[in-house]
Amino acid sequence: MPFTATYPIIVTNTTLTLAWRNIWRHPRRTLLTIAAMVFADVLLVFMLGLQLGQYQMMIDNTLSLFSGQMQVQAKDYLDEPQMYRTIANADPLADKIRQETGLQAVSPRAYGFALASSEKRTIGVQVTGVDPAFEDRVSTIPGLIEKGRFLSSISANEAVIGSTLANNLKIAIGDELTLMGSGKDGSIAATVLPVVGIFNSGNRDLDRQMMEMPLGSFRDVFAMGNDAHSIIIAGNRNMADVYSLKIDGLIKENRNLRLHDWETLLPGLKQAIQADFFSAWIMYALLIILVAFSMLNTMLMSVLERTHEFGILLALGVRHGKLGRIILTESFVLAFTGMTVGVLAGALLTYYFSINGISFPGMEEMGARFNIPPVITPEVSLRTVLPGPLAVLIATVFASIYPIWHMRKLRPIEALQAA
């Protein structure tokens, strides 16, 4: 009975040895099959790295421009941004969030709409009240000032505006803008502000419509008291879960408040990524299936040409199951060799481009639209390097099921008679 304990190990060893030798009986065929897998692997590793690298940049650049990682808002403000849906006493809450999370990138904002008139023009603008002390930590706009400077303090009487808007209003630094709008309580909100800076964010909508002014003066003009419309929180995206747990704890007792993550704030961004990812995987799947066909052919050939040999083995008393295991092992070894080479080659190629960057014709226009720089640096990590080659491995090993099933029908005598 000790026999049974060691038996499986012997089987495994001979199976592996036999499989390895069988594979290399036709070096050319084997190499071509491996080449097909390596080709697919390299392509998949590279493309996936490119895609994820691109998504990362799209998300980071879009979020860092204006919207932040997450926002606290009044309950229905996201769906229906009406001026009266505010966060009461926003500043102490922002302070609490800073203490609780240890983040400094927490900044309250208020939004309004007004008619801005220069000497020559009148245009409707989106007015944002920001806290200059914290705004540069949650948004890149303060750093994108093209002319002049950003807002100096929370109660200063001044404004910065987008470059297209400045163009359309025909104003320069130092010129005054008259604002006319309505406040939170429905009263008329009016003020005159000198423009101290002009920003160029590269985002068409922001540059065309937006004006930022200090939160303190905004509250005075628009009768906001100590309220704000949202509190922007930025920080390391990998820590988002930790932050949102802590912030949820803070706002839990106030039923009027909600915490939104970026997926909720910008559903379009997330879905654009999903749609792109999905359509890419359809293409990858097709590529993988084609490689699996290649493998299927190779394994079928290698089984068919050994009909006679299998006949001898069957006549000697080797079970069909053992033969099946040998074939399965062969295909696995073949696929695994392909995967190893493919992963290494793919990772090296992608790594090269992640250092040097990559650019396509037409990228500049696309980049401007999706907030990505014209040069992409692909990502090299386990999640970009492994899924593609693993899918190829699984598909190719699956492809050997047909040859095994075919072999199972072999009877020793008939097989021996085969040429």
Binding site: A36, N168, G268, K270, A272, D276, F293, T298, P361
Partner: protein, 418 residues
């Protein structure tokens, strides 16, 4: 005997190739399916991608752009009432071009930045004064009013508002809203409008960005003289606009005349990116196929080493053997291609009404697409895919064929397949 090697007739070479192909029918069928699947992937995926780009371009052209636009110089940098094109009765050359066969549709508009106010909210929009009849077939507004009534004439005093804007303003059809803009003297011009209809488009930005009223009504509201902001026109083909562009420029020499590509470089670059994508995708699929193709043929040649030696000893020229293998490969490629084309046709036909992808509508909108995908089969793509697989497939078979023809008879016969 070996001295009088002869050219065997083509029909025999063809027959041998055909029989050879089906000696191992499993292997050939697998390869055939791979070729068919590869071609299907090329055609289907390209049709889908082309469809997406076509729709984006169509939607961009219909969003008031047209194929060619005529503005006063300076308007595009500063779209205000200050920059006007003289009205058409002052430029007979342009008028006759617009009425000619080169132009499929055209219209004139007044287009100014404005502010819209309801009882509940105030928002910035672009007010467009249109000639309602002319917009049909030219821009989206002609056929996207889903509730209420479309405008009847240039003097119509009502307003068309987008669905999303209506929600934002918290107002309804037949309610009144106030529009404010600037007249030529830089004074605020104000006018109340009753909302006559609601339009519904794929893109939310379009629904919130524009409101439409009769051209002459807007002219009166802004207290302006003759002149218009823009003329938009459609030619026959959005890709072939050079001729029409030249004619338009010469008949409107003082105006700023641009094509949709110049106005929307993103879309123009999308076209170029698509052409590049199609080539890369074809190359990738073909490469994935070629490994299997070369492998299959090599196997077929190697296992026939002895008989190839035999027919050579019997007097078959090596050129005939080369052709024999090549024809075997060509037959395989042709059958595979035929199957692939049929498969593509069968899978694209049921989708001609579009694929519903509204589950990711916001994402499609983010990328400027609509939530229905319409595959667009372009014959050049289909031809290219077929030609590529056939030509490169034959090229890939040259090596196995050459290997087969190179065998020395005696060695080949005595050699035992290891």
């Amino acid at each position: 005997m070996s001295t009088d090697k002869q050219n065997i007739s083509w029909s025999i070479v063809f027959r041998i190739a055909w029989r050879n192909l089906w000696r191992n029918h499993r292997r050939s069928l697998i390869m055939l399916s791979a070729i068919a699947l590869g071609l299907w992937g090329m055609i289907w995926m390209t049709a889908l991608m082309r469809g997406v780009v076509d729709q984006m371009i169509d939607s961009s052209i219909k969003t008031l752009s047209g194929h060619i636009q005529i503005h006063a110089p300076g308007y595009l940098d500063d779209p205000s009432i200050e920059y006007l094109v003289p009205s058409l009765d002052k430029s007979p050359a342009l008028q006759s071009l617009l009425e000619s066969d080169d132009v499929v549709a055209w219209s004139q508009r007044i287009r100014v930045p404005a502010v819209i106010r309801s009882e509940r909210d105030v928002l910035a929009v672009t007010l467009v004064g249109i000639d309602p009849a002319r917009e049909k077939g030219l821009s989206f507004i002609g056929d996207s009013v889903t509730e209420g009534d479309y405008l009847t004439s240039v003097n119509d005093k009502k307003l068309l508002v987008g669905k999303k804007l209506l929600e934002r303003l918290e107002t309804k059809l037949d309610r009144r809203v106030v529009l404010m803009s600037q007249d030529p003297e830089n004074n605020i011009a104000e006018r109340g409008f009753r909302i006559s209809g609601m339009f519904d488009t794929d893109l939310e930005a379009t629904e919130t960005g524009y409101v439409f009223a009769g051209l002459e009504t807007v002219r009166k509201m802004l207290d302006m003289g003759p002149g218009i902001s823009e003329i938009s026109l459609l030619g026959h083909d959005y890709r072939e606009l050079d001729g029409l562009l030249d004619k338009t420029r010469s008949s409107a020499p003082d105006a700023d005349v641009r094509t949709w590509i110049e106005k929307d470089p993103y879309m123009g670059s999308m076209l170029a990116v698509m052409d590049g994508f199609v080539l890369v995708w074809f190359a990738v699929i073909f490469l994935a196929l070629s490994f299997g193709l070369v492998n299959t043929l090599l196997m077929a040649v190697f296992e026939r080493t002895r008989e190839i030696g035999l027919v050579q000893a019997l007097g078959m020229k090596s050129r005939n053997i080369l052709f024999m293998v090549l024809i075997e490969s060509i037959i395989m490629l042709l059958i595979g291609l035929a199957a692939g084309n049929i498969l593509s046709w069968l899978t694209i036909l049921p989708l001609k009404d579009g694929i519903d992808v509204s589950s990711v509508a916001a994402g499609m909108e983010f990328a400027g697409m609509s939530s229905t995908l319409l595959p667009a089969v372009k014959w050049p793509d289909v031809l290219l895919a077929n030609a590529l697989v056939l030509v490169l497939g034959i090229a890939a078979s040259l090596f196995p064929a050459w290997r087969a023809s190179r065998k020395v008879p005696i060695e080949a016969i005595t050699r035992v397949w290891q």
